[in-house]
């Protein structure tokens, strides 16, 4: 069994993503423990191999169908690389790319996957992953006993500094599989984020509302507090999806990552996808009527007082 680890590098505007560095650092650790090599796959026209000095080898594939990401093209290329290079473990970030490719490759490469990984170690030959499931309420420690494994890793799980290095990896240029000439998914347009609203990533203080607020009308209560504090109102994804607030205010994995001096959350459970966007705030104060809500595991201060009692009391306290 090989002890090699393969990481898929994600990039935007020529910059390797933070999530990729996290995977590379962990991949380095595992490959070293197994006496194997760390390889990193990068697709498309932009050469980012200079940023991948931590790896032993950089495998580059280019083809017109790889100019921008599509699940169809990336999957075909990765499957070919996995077959050729036969790593013990493939590491992907549990973002859109990981959600697209992870389980598809588990099926087509006949590997076993652990999703939502937030810790990863080796026990002898066996990778042992800890996954965060059920909205963060349960952790599962899972051995990958199969000879081929795939882990899709939650962003922010591993230090990214460990993924940076100044070595000179071997550069391997691999041919693209023939299937790319007839893509079944093609890009029509990239939709850039809306920047017309306030920038919640620039605020010192954020008041953030979750589904516990209940309705658009009741959001007014929390808005009053935000106004009283002179802070922008941000929110968890369901509040945005329900159309109560614009997308520009969404905190989390598929929204914005914020790092204010203080983050006040009301009626947010603390699902991993939300925590990904705010866990680095300097001070987190959470209000949630469920004492077991995962938000309390990252908050510095918490209260189980009902938000509809607490929020007006805070407004009064500030005014008084």
């Amino acid at each position: 069994m090989s002890g090699n680890v393969l990481v898929l590098a994600e990039q935007s505007d020529g910059q390797v993503s933070d999530a990729t560095y996290e995977l590379l650092g962990k991949g380095r650790e595992l490959a070293t423990a197994w006496g194997g090599t760390l390889e990193v796959a990068t697709f498309g026209p932009t050469d980012v191999s200079g940023q991948l000095g931590i790896a032993d080898a950089v495998v580059r594939v280019d083809h017109p169908a790889l100019a921008s990401y599509t699940a169809d093209a990336y999957e075909q290329v990765l499957l070919q690389l996995l077959t050729e290079r036969a790593p013990r473990l493939l590491l992907l970030s549990n973002d859109t790319v990981g959600l697209d490719l992870g389980t598809a490759l588990a099926v087509s490469w006949d590997a076993s996957q652990v999703a939502y990984v937030m810790a990863l170690a080796v026990d002898g030959d066996t990778p042992v992953a800890t996954a965060q499931i059920l909205g963060g309420k349960i952790l599962a420690e899972v051995e990958i006993t199969a000879p081929r494994g795939i882990c899709t890793v939650i962003g922010g799980s591993f230090p990214l500094a460990a993924g940076k290095g100044d070595g000179t990896p071997e550069i391997v240029t691999a041919a693209a599989p023939g299937g790319l000439d007839a893509p079944r998914i093609s890009l029509r347009a990239i939709v850039e984020p809306d920047t017309s609203d306030v920038d919640i990533t620039a605020a010192d203080l954020l008041v953030s509302a979750g589904r516990g607020v209940g309705s658009k009308d009741d959001l007014e209560v929390v808005q009053e507090l935000a106004d009283a504090l002179g802070a922008p109102l941000s929110a968890s994804r369901p509040v945005i999806d329900a159309g109560w607030m614009p997308k520009t205010r969404q905190v989390g994995k598929s929204g914005l990552k914020v790092k204010p001096k203080a983050y006040l959350s009301f009626g947010i459970s603390g699902a991993p996808e939300h925590l990904e966007g705010m866990r680095d705030a300097e001070l987190i104060i959470a209000c949630n009527t469920d004492a077991n809500a995962p938000i309390f595991d990252v908050a510095h201060y918490g209260t189980t007082v009902d938000l509809f009692d607490l929020v007006p009391a805070i407004v009064e306290e500030i005014g008084g």
Partner: protein
């Protein structure tokens, strides 16, 4: 145009999660189950496509899922044309479910297969990608809108930071839905009751090979509370006073 929507019954996250005595699985006996919220979004997106373009919407569940009939009757009450349960796969794991659904879809092809982007308990990965690979179909996850355009779907796929991509996807295809274009419609209880009287859920059965899982759960446990928040007790006014003091000490409240 036929659209299959795959639904899963998952533990209600509002409840406390009970573990089995050996600590390697959820104790499902005492848990309350609900339809995976992202599957509800997938159903809504399918019904929106039916409204705009005309389509037959088939709601599909696994026969062994707790209370799945209720979810399927509710889907029909909202506008699905028929409902099917698939027997033959007992697991909650994604791989065996994907194998069962893929086997069923081979005999009952759909132009579009929609399911939720993920489920709270899909430890071994997500259904849409598994189905896509098992069926050899193009698949897209984290989808936030779908439109039909002849033999293709125009799909918006979301990335982090508010970025998205509009894609042409050749049909048939599998889509993992993050959110429908509008909030899921509501089916009044009386309507669901009517449907329960008048609708028969088709029962299908498939044979799937018992594939080796390749993963073994050593233990499940609630996150250790070593980093738990300091809880502020007291009346709303007392808690509010403490919170404001915390903010004032960091100069985050004017005055």
């Amino acid at each position: 145009m036929r659209i299959a929507v795959i639904l899963k019954a998952v533990p209600d996250l509002v409840e406390e999660m009970e573990l089995t005595s050996d600590g390697t699985d959820l104790d499902r006996e005492y848990l309350k189950f609900v339809t995976n919220e992202w599957d509800e979004q997938a159903l809504e997106e399918a019904l929106l496509l039916k409204d705009s373009d005309g389509a037959e919407v088939v709601a599909v569940g696994m026969a062994d899922d707790p209370d799945i009939e209720q979810a399927l009757y509710s889907a029909v009450a909202k506008g699905a044309d028929r409902a099917v349960t698939i027997a033959g796969a007992t697991g909650v794991d994604t791989r065996s479910r994907a194998a069962a659904v893929a086997a069923w879809l081979k005999d009952n092809p759909a132009d579009l297969v929609l399911s939720g982007v993920q489920a709270p308990d899909d430890l071994d990965g997500q259904l849409p990608a598994a189905l896509g690979a098992a069926l050899g179909l193009p698949h897209v996850s984290v989808v936030v809108s779908v439109a039909l355009d002849g033999a293709a779907a125009i799909v918006r796929q979301e990335f982090s930071g508010g970025r998205a991509a509009d894609l042409n996807v050749t049909l048939p295809a599998v889509l993992g839905i993050q959110v429908a274009r509008q909030a899921p419609r509501y089916a009044p209880v009386t309507r669901v009751r009517q449907v329960m009287q008048s609708t028969t859920i088709d029962e299908a059965s498939v044979a799937v090979d018992e594939a080796a899982a390749g993963i073994r759960v050593r233990r499940m446990y609630p996150p250790e509370k070593t980093t738990h928040a300091e809880m502020i007790d007291g009346s709303p006014a007392e808690v509010a006073a403490r919170i404001v003091e915390l903010l004032r000490s960091r100069s985050l409240v004017k005055g």
